[in-house]
Every structure is written in structure tokens, then in C-alpha cells.
Symmetry: C2
Subunit: 204 residues, 2 copies
Amino acid sequence: MKVKEGRSHRKSGRPLSFDRNERLRKAMLLFWAHGYEATSLSDLTHEMAITPPSLYHSYGDKKSLFLESLELYLSGPETSDTIIANAETAKQAAFRLLEVSAIYFTGLDTPKGCMLATSAISCSQSQMDVAKVLAFKRLEIEKNLKMKIADGRRCGEFQSEVDEDALAGLIMSVIQGLSTLARDGAAREKLLRIVKTAMNAWPP
Amino acid sequence: MKVKEGRSHRKSGRPLSFDRNERLRKAMLLFWAHGYEATSLSDLTHEMAITPPSLYHSYGDKKSLFLESLELYLSGPETSDTIIANAETAKQAAFRLLEVSAIYFTGLDTPKGCMLATSAISCSQSQMDVAKVLAFKRLEIEKNLKMKIADGRRCGEFQSEVDEDALAGLIMSVIQGLSTLARDGAAREKLLRIVKTAMNAWPP
DNA sequence: TCGTTATCCTAGTGATCGATACAAAATTCT
DNA sequence: AGAATTTTGTATCGATCACTAGGATAACGA
């Protein structure tokens, strides 16, 4: 049985002259730095060192290239899903999410901040569908964290009553906020101190 | 002695056919909803119901119209400066900042979220100067809050040692995060519960 | 070697971007 | 009234936007 690899059937014909994944990463870095709408095709083709027809043939249009870049970003060094799933307690899940965010948002050879938070937080009416995709991804993370907190509550993780909704929302808020602070130039060390301070809000 | 009123010297000539401040507010609402770059001149002239030459004559170019809209936004129902200055304690200042944000970001007849946080968080290289203005305004608020915390520490507001930098950064992070949650559809009541939860991180 | 298939680059498409030249219209000053 | 001043709408500017038609080029299988 043949298995499709990406978009290319690769039965015969002229082979791709570039590494598709490597150039996708370059696109991701541009979208990460400047957002969806502010990154032009001319920016992309210049940075990826391919011509517009090659880009369209290999990745589809600008929107699908962005969405694929987003998947690459979200697969990151660690996904939020695995962080939450592997954590022993809800508190550990929250702490790890914050910690990994603080580190991921202040990488030395990547743009500052969070691509999921910044790349289409405001956009024109015509591109609202892209913004909705990002919003959905954010809400999914929040939902997962909320369920982890509910699990923890059932397992006796908390001494007192807990507002799962507000607690998950707070962690998400801090994550989004860390992204902006990172954009504004805050150092990784500062973000990690903020994370530590934020965890003081966690109920006993 | 004559005093200039805005941009118009009003000595003679044809008078303005529209209310400059009222139309400025319409521009602000557009920038608030869609951000600086994603709001086009055609969007602006259509919503403000004036022609491009009138816009340029009354407000200057797009950038200066945005900056004036931003000032109108920041003057809001209450400025962060007055909130911080009028608070009796640093803790009250932080709580009020969060509370006012939660309410301001979920207005019924305004766009969701924070214009300062969303209108140019990611932009093209050519418009980076506008993004810098917003970053500067955000950092100013953080600086003011940090000084308020330092004042509180000197006045014996805290029982233990306090990381002013991290504490001010945390409050700012939550504010920026609330903006994104509001954009994603969170209700005001939820944001207020998040605020309450966040304040649990405040040191005794 | 030759046909098939796939990718390559050149050179554009129409649409929209922010911004303006120009002169008619509307007001005040003399 | 007539000159001076300011705002008006029409009609457009060059630049850039996302995108693509069309043919040359380079690999494959037979």
C-alpha cells in the first residue's frame, strides 16, 4: 500500500529542489514574528527562497501555508496536550504549562511571544476565519486544563472548593499575558519569576 | 490671545461639516476591533462617513489618526494612572486595574478585548514604530504599578518580602490575558471570577 | 531514446492599499 | 461686493497585495 507523503505523490517527474519542512519552518518563523496578515507573500517567498508558483504548488495558498505553520508551531518542543496528560496533578500541569510557555516565548533563535496568541489576535473581517481557528485552539487548551482540574478535585487534590472555570481561565490569561510581556522585551528569568508568583494563586 | 483648537485655526473659511470628535470615536472603534494594519482607509472613510481628503485634512495620515484614537481609548472611563494614584494600597490598585479591565474588555457596545493589547501586537516591519508606541504605553503602566508596590512595601503593606517586578508583571500579564479571553468570547462574569482568583496570588 | 509526470521560473493578472491633485463650494474678513 | 481662507467631492496616483497562466526544465518508467 502506498502512503501519501504530504502533498507530493512522488511517483515520477522532476523532484522538489528544496527541503519542504525546512522552508515551512522559515514560513512559521515569519508568521510567528509578524502575524498572519502582516506577513506578505513577498516576505514569504523571499525568506523561503522560492518563487510564488513553487510556494503555491507545495503548500497551497497563504491560508493553508499559515495553518500548516501553526501546526508546526503547536507541535513545538512539547504539546500542551502531553504536558497536561503527563502531569501527576492539576497543579503540576498548570505549573508546567506556565513554565514551558515562559521558556518557549523567550527563545534565542525564535521570535518573542506566542504564535498562537499573537499571529491573528486582530484581523480584518475577511480573514476572521483564521482568527477563529486560533481562538478554537486556545479554547481547547483551556478546556483540557479545566478537565484536569476537575479530575484533580475528584481525586482529592484540593482541600477547599475550587472554581475550575476561573482557575483554568487564570492560567490561560497568564500564558497569553506572558506572550505580550515577552514581546515587550521581558527576560526569560523575569517571566519565570512571574510564573512562580502566579502559582501562589493556586488553591491549597 | 488666540488658542489653537486641535488642528483647526478657525479664523475663516468653510466650516467642518461633521463632528470631529464623534467621527474620531468611530475610527477608534474600528481600530479597537480590527487593529491598526487590518483597518483600511476605505473601512475608515466608510464608517466615518467622510471622504479620504476630509480625513487627511482633519486627522493627518492613518498613523496619526490611529495615535489619536489610541489616546481617546486610553482616556477611557478611567485611566490607569488615576486608578493607581487614587488607590489606598498597592493591592487595591492591582485589584481595581484588573476589575476595570474585566469590565472595559466586555462592554456591550464596544469591541471585546483591549485596544492597547490587541491593535498592533503583531505587525509588519514597516509599521514597527506604531507597535513600539503601544509597547511603551504598556510598560509605563507596569512601571507605575511597580512603583505603587514599592511605595506599599515602604509603608508596611506587606508582611513578607515581595518581588515587585514579578508582582507587577503578573498583574499586567493577567490584564493582557483577560483581553484575549474576552476576544474569545468569555463573559464579563467569568473574567471577574478570574480576577478574584488572580488576587489570591497577592502576598500577605 | 522517448513519452510522461512533476516542478521550475518569467512575467504578469485584477484588486486594493495609503495617499493626493485639483477645483468647486462655503464661510469670514475687509 | 470682493478677496482670502478653508473644506468639499471627484477622480486618481504609484505601490503592493494575493495569486496564476504558460512554457521551459528535469526527473521518472518503458
